[in-house]
Amino acid sequence: MSQTLTPPSPAAPAAAGAPARRTGRTPRGRTWVAAFFLLPALVLLGALVVYPIVWSVVRSLFGPDGFTHFVGLSNYTGVFTDHQTLVAIKNNAIWVVVAPVAATGLGLIFAVLTERIRWGTAFKLVVFMPMAISMLAAGIIFRLVYDQDPGKGVANAMVTGVHDTFFKASAYPGAHPRVAGPGSTLTGPVGGPYTGKAVSPGDGPAALALVGVQPGTLTGATQAAAPGSCPSGALCGTVWLDFQPGGGTPGKIDPGEKALAGVRVEAVRDGRVLATATAAEDGTFTLPASRIGTSPIRLRLPATNFTAQYAGVNWLGPTLVTWSIIGAYVWMWTGFAMVLIAAGLAGIPRELLEAARVDGAKEWQVFRRITVPLLAPVLGVVLVTLVINVLKIFDLVYVIAPGASQQDANVLALQLYLSSFGGGNDQGTGSALAVLLLALVAPAMFLNIKRFRQEKSR
């Protein structure tokens, strides 16, 4: 919000200075009075704005140990060669392009739509509400929203909810054969598929022992059993959880060991699936003689039996983290854009819209050709204000990005803080970054001031 207040303040003394200049013909005493009244503002401005800027510029020419070590411009060259800072600059560019446009666009849509509905004000209130909380609080909220665990993070709760409606989760995520020892009859990469040794149809029952199923998940399952009778030429066997409290005997169906009903078993020869069977209630399966023939085959448990639960989107991982934080920012600042645009909207002469409609313009055309052009000055102000705000974004990134991806989410203001205080303890580089940031904000500031002037002169 402060941005909406700051631009007028440099303008104000200038405006106040103008009459003083114009009244140059008036007696000298008047000038002194004017100067006297200006003094407090000038002193404050000097002490709080000009002095820190000058100090930062000077400080940026010195090394980390203070004013003892003059380094010239090497802090600046350091800034532009440092990998972390380059990432920060790149991210800042993404921020400046995406966040203000998204917030303004959404704000425009909300403002135009809510103008037409009865509960518009209530809706506006809700959209504006996030503005009432601090960036820090919003950051903490979104840290939770983006939590990886669907039980905590609402974003992943939605994603996994949708995903699981369309793709059935596997029955035994994480189940795997023993790595070695007597119970290990199957091999394969972690997560499957697991393949057994070559067996011939008619061989004794195949024991497909698996382990690694959470103890709580099999409470209703029945005791595993060896296949009762097996048709001649067919291949029978059992899929079961070869583990009971204390371990059990590996590779043997001990009393108390539960069947893994529903596991799909494939008979494979030369990479071709000949037959499939599904383990019954007691874990037994039969691969019919007619399909598998007589030469040796391999038994395979496809990976679909074991695919781990869908973990959702890695919102705060290295690739998405910046975009996720921009999402949080847009959530906060859309309300701001909406309220300003709504105010601008109220100032548009109704007759123009009516006239366009009478002339047969469709609603979309009215919006495109009348509303938006008339709103352009307001949109410009909102956009520029947001650009300035976004350039110095710090809190959201600092709070939301976890340590592991903080560098991937880095922005200039954060890098400034980190290099001068947060461990870096190099205020020379920090000051150089501050000057860079100032240089980036200045054009936007200038634009805003110019716009305010124009508006005044109108």
Binding site: P64, D147, Q148, D149, G174, H176, R178, V179, V190, G191, V211, G212, V213, Q214, P215, G216, T217, F243, P245, G246, G247, A308, A311, N314, L316, G317, A401, P402, G403, A404, S405, Q406, Q407, L418, G422, G423, G424, N425, D426
Partner: protein, 452 residues
């Protein structure tokens, strides 16, 4: 860094509560049985300090602070001084620095890391220990603690409270479910037991990879055991490079665990988003999401405060196993008391803090390990802590202090930077040992170069 670094926010809130509670605390604790119950008369020869006001600054909050107030109450009773504890918040350097510049430093400060002592001594803020304190120090403290409290051959610090960061805490139910009976004593055995736990259906390892300091502690334990204290000291001071073959070996060893997402609760991705408190909680949740969690004895506090598990029955502990035939590592860190004023009061308080009598008061409250060899093991409240303390004292001079705590903060103590970040990247991609080493060396060179 240790657990309390994670509790930055809490520290701020408790700071206010603590400040409010300080004024009256002296009176509250004076009548406490625990404080007065310690030996009625003191063998210490402390001066009378009637009417003197002393200030002690430290990062401690909550129970840690409450227990320490009892130590101070005892000191007040013996000397007649009035001692107040001033919580510094998370950043001691900033707090003490501003106090010194303002001309009113506290009498004594408890610094959470040895590196801070060095920094303060270099700045000339500290007062050397008096002969009666150093005599006690020589008698009852291992060389490693004495050396860490010394700057340029002048002793400044007394380690009052220390941690033992070479512990695995396990969920006994999950452990029994898997049929395990004995604690692993070697790294290979640990991984094998991990496989057994995984077979039983409980993912074995809970790693708080979201907090970089947890990962640096993992690495340091392995490096210390595998390569030995001498090399450990060199790497700590960056006298050997992180591209050294010994680091390759340690990272490869660590990679045998980090490269097995099936042995890590939540897989690699989950671990990277798990902060330290959560990594403890998920081991002692019902049902458990993992069976084992590695860190220091301070995990006991997390278990007691955040879960329903009971330390000693549901939660037990075994020491970090030895790696490749080396000595089992004992990694530590501690709070070191230093005097910031020359007055009689400050020196008397140092004299008191170095004594076994002061340490015993805090030991009896629980959640406290003393490096003082003269503190009786029988003073520890339960077997778990007693064993941890024995383990620590027994290690003697083989104890090493957290490497990252001694490095410049930009390398060893900053979220998202330096060693923290590099090891997180290694956890994400354990196959790339060489890449991790290169990055570690680059960051270390930069940070050590600046600290000069």
């Amino acid at each position: 860094m240790n657990g309390r670094a994670a509790a930055a926010l809490t520290a701020v809130t408790v700071l206010m509560i603590g400040a409010a509670g300080c004024g009256s605390s002296d009176k509250d604790t004076a009548g406490d049985p625990a404080a007065t119950g310690a030996k009625g008369t003191s063998t210490l020869d402390l001066p009378r300090l009637d009417g003197q006001n002393l200030q002690v600054a430290g990062v401690w909050t909550g129970a840690e602070q409450k227990n320490f107030l009892k130590v101070l109450a005892r000191f007040d009773k013996l000397t007649g001084a009035r001692t107040t504890f001033v919580p510094t918040g998370d950043n001691v350097s900033t707090f003490v620095g501003s106090k010194i510049q303002g001309g009113s430093p506290p009498d004594v400060a408890l610094l959470p890391q040895p590196g801070v002592l060095q920094q303060f001594a270099k700045a000339g803020w500290l007062k050397p220990l008096q002969p009666d304190v150093t005599k006690e120090l020589d008698q009852n403290y291992s060389k490693v603690w004495r050396d860490l409290g010394t700057y340029k051959n002048t002793p400044y610090g007394v380690f009052f409270k220390v941690t033992n960061k070479s512990l695995f805490w396990y969920n006994t139910a999950a452990w029994e479910q898997a049929g395990l009976t004995t604690a692993p004593t070697t790294w290979d055995q640990l991984l094998k037991d991990g496989q057994t736990l995984s077979d039983s259906g409980t993912p074995p390892f809970s790693i708080g990879g979201g907090d970089g300091w947890v990962l640096t502690d993992w690495f340091e334990n392995i490096y210390l055991s595998q390569t030995g204290p001498a090399m450990y000291d060199k790497l700590t001071k960056h006298q050997i490079k992180w591209t050294d073959p010994s680091v390759t070996k340690a990272l490869t060893t660590l990679g045998r665990l980090f490269g097995r997402p099936d042995l890590i609760a939540g897989g690699t991705r989950g671990a990277l988003q798990t902060d330290f408190p959560t990594s403890v909680d998920q081991v002692f949740a019902k049902p458990p999401k993992a069976a084992l969690v590695y860190e220091g004895e301070f995990i006991a506090t997390n278990i007691t405060q955040e879960t329903t598990a009971k330390v000693g029955t549901d939660a037990k502990v075994f020491p970090f196993p030895s790696v490749d035939g080396g000595e089992a590592p004992v990694l530590s860190s501690g709070d070191v008391a230093v005097a910031l004023k020359d007055g009689k009061g400050a020196q008397a308080l140092m004299r008191f803090l170095v004594s076994p009598e002061a340490a015993a008061i805090d030991v009896q409250q629980g959640g406290f390990l003393s490096p003082n060899k003269a503190v009786a093991f029988s003073d520890y409240r339960d077997d778990i802590v007693r064993d941890i303390a024995k383990n620590l004292i027994k290690a003697g001079d083989n104890i090493r202090v957290d490497m990252s705590d001694q490095a410049p903060a930009a390398f060893g103590g900053t979220k998202g930077q330096g060693e923290w970040k590099d090891l997180q990247d290694f956890l994400a991609k354990p196959s790339d040992v060489a890449g991790a080493q290169k990055q570690l060396e680059a960051d270390a060179a930069k940070a050590f170069g600046k600290a000069g």
